[in-house]
Symmetry: D2
Subunit: 343 residues, 4 copies
């Protein structure tokens, strides 16, 4: 059994980690921390966990965390910067769901997050935890940066084209729609039901923190600079990201559908749907799957990729556990075979 | 492995059975029928099942169904009447999710369902599949009538009071709120998003088909006639039933909270919450749990029981599988340990 | 033109007042206050008002407010206590949407609101602004306490029975369901879309601040003590209250339907629907109407009254304007003839 | 008073026409037709209209309709083809909300709608009812084709760039998100609350009937062929369209914000928001306004136009009444000054 700790378990990625881990056959939850909720049973805050765990929140403590085999950070950005080194020093592995180690360029990180980068020395060993790209490195990693939700859906959608050098120097457009849980469990007016339901809006058009992360990933795949316009939208639902991705590939000779199917043939959590499909986010609600469909517009030749995930699962906690499974030599889908809740 | 067949798998209780059964460690799905979708892969209709099953719908056929150990009916009322006997004759057990065998009084059934009862001779062997009441009979049953969604939440809420004869001859009021999935997957104007969302309404105040079923169950528990007013409400959400149950128990001497806790102490799927709690339906979304809280009004002495279930799980398909587990000697929670999806 | 001021215009009842008043043919909006938003154009905060008003928020100032003919308070409780007297002294009339003057018993108020009552001397002149009961007093009032949302829908539902002394000394049960806007625009976790949507729950079963207000109103109508159990529920929608009201009237001889129709025959904002109806909250969304249907249960004789309003209109800002119209001798429906937004 | 008839009033554009017209100070509703609901009071079907109209549905009859000054068609496509000529012959003007006269190219119409065009001879006199483009022709028109919902929001967003020839021969991308009411009031599985809520999906990527209409309008504005990719998405809300429009304008020298503000300076129903804004669909819910914001991406130079409307108002019935006002010489906003319902 893998002994597991969670730092910061009071947000949505925290409770989602718990939902997955309490039924994971090879994981044993040892500790979950929260300064504000010290002593409170986890199931008091999240009653869906009643009967599944007796754990109580406790104040983060390196010696206790250090007894775990792996510690997940489900914290706001900045926290893992200050705590990861100490935990790594105990020999415990770290899987960080926050943005702290996602960007290899610390200056870029500081620009977007508006604060000093607290752990530059750890960057060389931080592995970007997108299994479909970095499976080999993840296996031996001691520090994982779990990709963001938008970046996961956008990268998985563009990879087959970029890796095969099919998109020349031109504009990519990622028009992405996210459920409100992407904004977290913080009490913000904009996330109120009366503000966010029955409405649709774009946000962060001038710049969103996931933009540099997406660009970094796409450039690695392309082996060159990538020109990306990214427009996120707040969508009136709890879970789900729908990325509508546009690209032009004038030199494309091969079958587009086959290109995608072959790229993901062995991936347990990427499902390339039949040609002509329109994946709905509800088809992945509560599951770790990314479903993708590719279209080419009859008149314009524009390639349109539709990529959907559950932002809290494949976009966060499920992908984190997928990384854990790889790191500990387990079958990659251990504890991750939930069927999406439909309807 | 238990060989399982499903008759009528295109509705919401059908896909929910599939969601549970494809991950059930002791069940093997052999056949699923639909006349209209003959030959269509189940996962084409319900893409959440892609990768979980390769099964195709087929036309119902008694010889194929008869090779199963158990057949679930997830059909409109009337279908199990005409088909159950033939299947039972092959030695296969039947678990019926429809209303066909819920009422022991066939005349009453005909009055509420407006058609002749097609299988009166089967009624003596039909066991009402509420494990919290009929566990012993379920074990040996060959034909199970799975309780309706409202009846499950209402009966579990009232049982501790009625079984202990604490409610004298007076009025019970069950004010129940259901998500729209209770109306099924049929294309009805009243179930459209534009009709049912952002709105709340009562319906069937003059009489609802679940009323005689609830009354039958409460009277069994009380050992006498029960006077019940039942008002269902259509609530703008997909899943969930919230029953708010009112009763007066002037002779109550014991601790109300203890009464409920003791009654359900050994029940794997009834969770009596701490005194003062207000269970939310989302705390059981996708899970087989019924959560109950009991209150007594300071000024009026009125007892108020709050009982929540997921209408598609404990109110239908989950309870059906719970019955199967009991019938086949499995631990009762086999394949039913899903944590509710929150948020 | 009636010169109008609004104190505290940044919440949902504030923006709803604005929505109604900018199109009111006899009202001229002169000032709207908010300490935190001083100088900000109202339409910057509420873009639905762009093009309808150029007004900016300003710090509350008695001399400016005193130039108005009437000032609405759309503030948290306690604010009107401290400011109303000064405004009344200038000769300006006050319509308070908060709870400050709803309870005539100041001790009771202090018990439920947990703070000293700041304006006991004003209570004798405060008129409870339910036009269907107090129309004559409203006409000459200088200080109006606009009823709460739950109290409006519950009182209008029970009045015909209580005023005619048809309910003997027994238990009334008001099972009420409210949209989330009833919780206001404050940033609270419980009001987040991810917490409140796709879920149903009761709250405040042990006691809710609207209980004493409802009881006060029902007792006035009955001319005697009333035994009421009130259970509010948080419903996953923005607007609307659905009150399901239970009563027993063993001595009722007359036609129940006629009783209600006659009681409200001349009321512009109470619509008694045909017998057998089930009003939906969406039929009043954005309108000042209260729709009521009455049923009597076939088996139990229980009377069931269904009463729906838009909590922000008839339950707050619309009713406030209805009071203003009466006070200033205008036709009662001036500026209040909006058709509910359906779908 | 303008005497008004409506053909086909049982769908969402029909009830929305009624909502607007019953409060229109210069319109008098004379007749509303529905074959299936002949004799039924309109307010029985749409209870939000109780107290606002006593009209009953009647079977369509040319002589009755011919007594009106104007007849609106709120019918499925094909109906206006067969009936418009007869009504026009009586001297009555026709405003058609269906797609029947939107495309000037009848062959194109037949290709997309899969049936013969039933009124080719009327096409020369059909005026495309987008006031921001065709105000002068609308004034004298006898037959108006009210634009579709997507086409309205997309055209208003692109017009300032295309009319000024600022977009060279390249790809336009319109990524559009619509509420479910755009699919109408028909009982379709895909429009059920349990199918469409809590989910996001693209549809019609291979081709949507609004594509040729949008292209026709953009080409008129540009004076040349336009290369457009249009991807509609089904969004889990009742009302609203959010169009996210992408374009590259390498030769753009002028201030983008000023370009839009000047283009729409005199338009009563187009609101160009301040630079940096993100309009939400709820800011126009129930109103006839189109709100637009323009952005230019810092890194890529891509122009991003955000354009929101209520699909049932500016995208259908409100725009129809706007056309009526122009045709009859009324101030254009008569009866159309509703403030959006927020929250």
């Amino acid at each position: 059994m893998i002994k597991v700790g969670i730092v910061g378990g009071t947000g949505y990625t925290g409770v989602e980690l718990l939902r997955i881990l309490v039924n994971h056959p090879e994981a044993e939850l040892k500790v979950i921390t929260s300064r504000s909720e010290d002593g409170v049973p986890v199931a008091d805050m999240f009653p869906n966990l009643r009967g599944h765990t007796d754990l109580r929140f406790s104040v983060p403590d390196v010696s206790t965390l250090g007894e775990c085999d792996v510690v997940f950070f489900a914290t706001p950005h900045g926290v893992a910067h200050s705590l990861a080194q100490e935990i790594l020093d105990t020999g415990t592995r770290v899987i960080d769901l926050s943005a702290d180690f996602r960007l290899q360029d610390a200056d870029e990180w500081e620009k977007w997050y508006g604060q000093p980068h607290g752990a530059r020395s750890l960057l060389p060993q931080a592995v970007y935890g997108l299994p479909e790209v970095n499976r080999a490195q993840i296996k031996d990693a001691r520090l994982i940066a779990v990709p963001g939700c938008y970046p996961t859906s956008v990268q998985l959608g563009y990879l087959p084209l970029l890796e095969n050098n099919l998109i020349p120097e031109q504009m990519l457009i990622a028009d992405c729609k996210s459920g409100v849980s992407g904004a977290g469990r913080g009490a913000k007016v904009g996330s109120l039901l009366c503000e966010a339901s029955e409405s649709m809006m774009a946000y962060g058009v001038a710049g969103h923190r996931h933009l540099p992360e997406i660009r970094q990933g796409l450039q690695r795949a392309a082996g060159k600079a990538v020109n990306l316009t990214f427009v996120p939208h707040l969508t009136p639902m709890i879970r789900g990201i729908h990325s509508t991705l546009y690209a032009q590939a004038p030199g494309l000779k091969d079958d587009l559908q086959a290109l995608f199917e072959q790229r993901y043939a062995d991936e347990p959590f990427v499902d390339v749907m039949p040609a002509g499909s329109h994946p709905a986010t509800r088809s992945v609600k509560g599951s770790n799957m990314c479903r993708i469909a590719v279209h080419q517009h009859q008149h314009t030749g524009q390639i349109i990729i539709l990529s959907v995930i559950d932002n809290l699962v494949k976009g966060a906690s499920g992908q984190a556990v997928q990384n854990m499974n790889i790191m500990f030599g387990l079958p990659e889908d251990t504890g991750l075979n939930q069927v999406a809740l439909l309807p």
